[in-house]
């Protein structure tokens, strides 16, 4: 079975067991809003933390739903553009299944600051760090695939390589966030936002672009313009990093997320981030 099919299968299995939790939580929230029930209302004896459990039980695995097909795309593209077979096919396939299993037991790491008891925090810190093992296996398999290959740096390969680099960065900050002391320190700051956007934009959107450029001739029967594609890649890569990297120092300095105004001391990195955002915001018409 092609490795992309393996990863899609893993991702959709997560959807099957995870989504009912989110839908149930959303319906209970709807009842609280419209019918006057009190599942989550603390003033009527409800428990707001319960909603966080419902929400993250699905919404953390959702990140793996998103990233697993991207792993599959990377695993399909690197062999093509490095002209070598995928290193460790079987291990890459098994690690996808391992991620599915582990993803069911990590959701509380979003709630380290929600009054979670200490033993539970230790447990979920451990399980979250375990996720790095199957993921790291994949990264090593890709690097070993590229190693010594005859690289063809087409637009699709550039997007895949850029996505891989940004994914490794996101993985490092992910491990940092998994550690309880660091997580408590940067909780609800821009550090979290930066990590999240490196995963979602850096890895996922780059992977989607890589796949679309790779299969564009197959889907449409036409070839894209290689020059425009490379321009698209350069603007995306530079703009994304300019936008999301400054969020890490901002978060470490303590700028909270979701605020419309902030202390002037945070202005420097915010200006850089905004300029980076506009840099790739304006080019983002689908140039293919």
């Amino acid at each position: 079975m092609p490795i992309f099919v393996w990863t899609v299968l893993s991702a959709q299995i997560i959807q099957l067991f995870g989504l009912p939790a989110l839908t149930a939580g959303a319906v209970m929230l709807l009842f609280d809003l419209t019918l006057g029930t009190s599942f989550f209302d603390p003033f009527k004896g409800g428990d707001p933390i319960l909603f966080q459990h419902f929400f993250w039980f699905y919404s953390h695995p959702a990140v793996y739903v998103i990233i697993l097909p991207i792993f599959g795309i990377f695993s399909e593209l690197f062999p093509v553009y490095a002209r070598k077979p995928l290193f460790g096919y079987k291990v890459v396939a098994i690690s996808s299944i391992v991620i599915v299993i582990l993803s069911a037991v990590v959701w509380v790491h979003h709630m380290f600051a929600s009054g979670t008891p200490g033993w539970m925090r230790m447990l979920f810190m451990f399980s979250t760090m375990l996720i790095a093992v199957p993921t790291g296996v994949k990264v090593f398999a890709w690097v070993a695939t590229i190693w010594g290959g005859k690289l063809r740096l087409t637009t699709a390969m550039l997007f895949a390589l850029g996505g891989l680099v940004m994914f490794v960065f996101a993985g490092i900050t992910g491990i940092m966030l998994a550690a309880v002391p660091i997580d408590i320190h940067v909780n609800n700051t821009y550090f979290v936002v930066g990590h999240f956007h490196y995963v979602i934009y850096g890895a996922t959107v780059m992977g989607v672009y890589a796949a679309l450029y790779h299969w564009f001739p197959k889907i449409t029967g036409r070839m894209y313009y290689e020059g425009l594609g490379k321009l698209h890649f350069v603007l995306t890569f530079v703009g994304t990093n300019l936008n999301f990297f400054p969020m890490h120092p901002l978060g470490l300095q303590g700028m909270p997320r979701r605020v419309a105004s902030y202390d002037p001391e945070f202005a420097f990195w915010n200006v850089i981030a905004s300029l980076g955002a506009f840099c790739w915001g304006f080019r983002r018409c689908p140039s293919s």
Binding site: Q12, L29, K90, I219, N270, A277, G281
Partner: protein
């Protein structure tokens, strides 16, 4: 010379490509062809990618100066709420569903997905809940301001006092998105487990499914 023609064993339920190959109208129809649905998913997702990107531009434009001066704070709250919701439920999931729909049957040698009509229904729910989410701009009190995670003490406050408000519409959109994704997941898992080409059965996946 004998006149040979190959007849399909069973007549297909529907022609996969009715009309000319570049008949654009089928992309706006209730097509059950997995390639058409895949392209529909990807195109619609890119539309909402632009919408979510517009919201992100407003957020960054607001943050370029320390003071809250570009937009009102309630608008800013709605922007980051809808940016997260649109980007996850209307861009990332649909575009990946589209890629999976397009590529998986081709890669495993299946003629189509296992449940083509379910597939089409799952797709057409995406524009429906997209419209529901965008309609929250017209709701009393404006769109939801509770963030994309909608934590309860904020999300159950309902300051406008109306039955239909931004938060209710947000919940409806997310629940519909969940139902649509579950339909897609059932479809894709069934397709992959049951519809692989014969040669693909024993050789490559024995370590998970036994002798599938």
């Amino acid at each position: 010379m004998a006149n040979l023609s190959v007849q399909p064993l069973t007549p297909p339920l529907e022609q996969p490509f009715p009309g000319a190959p570049d008949n654009w109208k089928r992309f706006f129809s209730f097509s059950t062809d997995h390639k058409v649905i895949g392209i529909q998913y990807i195109t619609l997702a890119f539309f909402f990618f632009l919408v979510g990107g517009l919201f992100a531009m407003i957020i960054r434009g607001e943050l370029i100066t320390p003071e809250a001066d570009l937009v009102d704070r309630t608008v800013y709250n709605a922007m980051f709420t809808l940016h997260g919701t649109v980007m996850l439920f209307l861009w990332t999931f649909p575009v990946l569903a589209g890629l999976s729909n397009y590529l998986v049957p081709l890669m495993i040698g299946a003629r189509d997905m296992a449940f083509p009509r379910l597939n089409a229904i799952a797709f057409w729910m995406v524009p429906v809940f997209g419209v529901v989410l965008m309609a929250s701009f017209l709701a009393p009190g404006g769109p939801s301001q509770a963030g994309w995670w909608a934590y309860p003490p904020t999300s159950i406050q309902n300051p406008s006092g109306q039955l239909i408000n931004g938060q209710t519409l947000w919940i409806l959109a997310v629940a519909l998105s969940g139902i649509s994704s579950i339909m897609g997941a059932v479809n894709i898992v069934t397709t992959i487990v049951k519809m692989r080409a014969p040669g693909m059965a024993g050789s490559k996946c024995r370590f998970l499914f036994g002798r599938c």
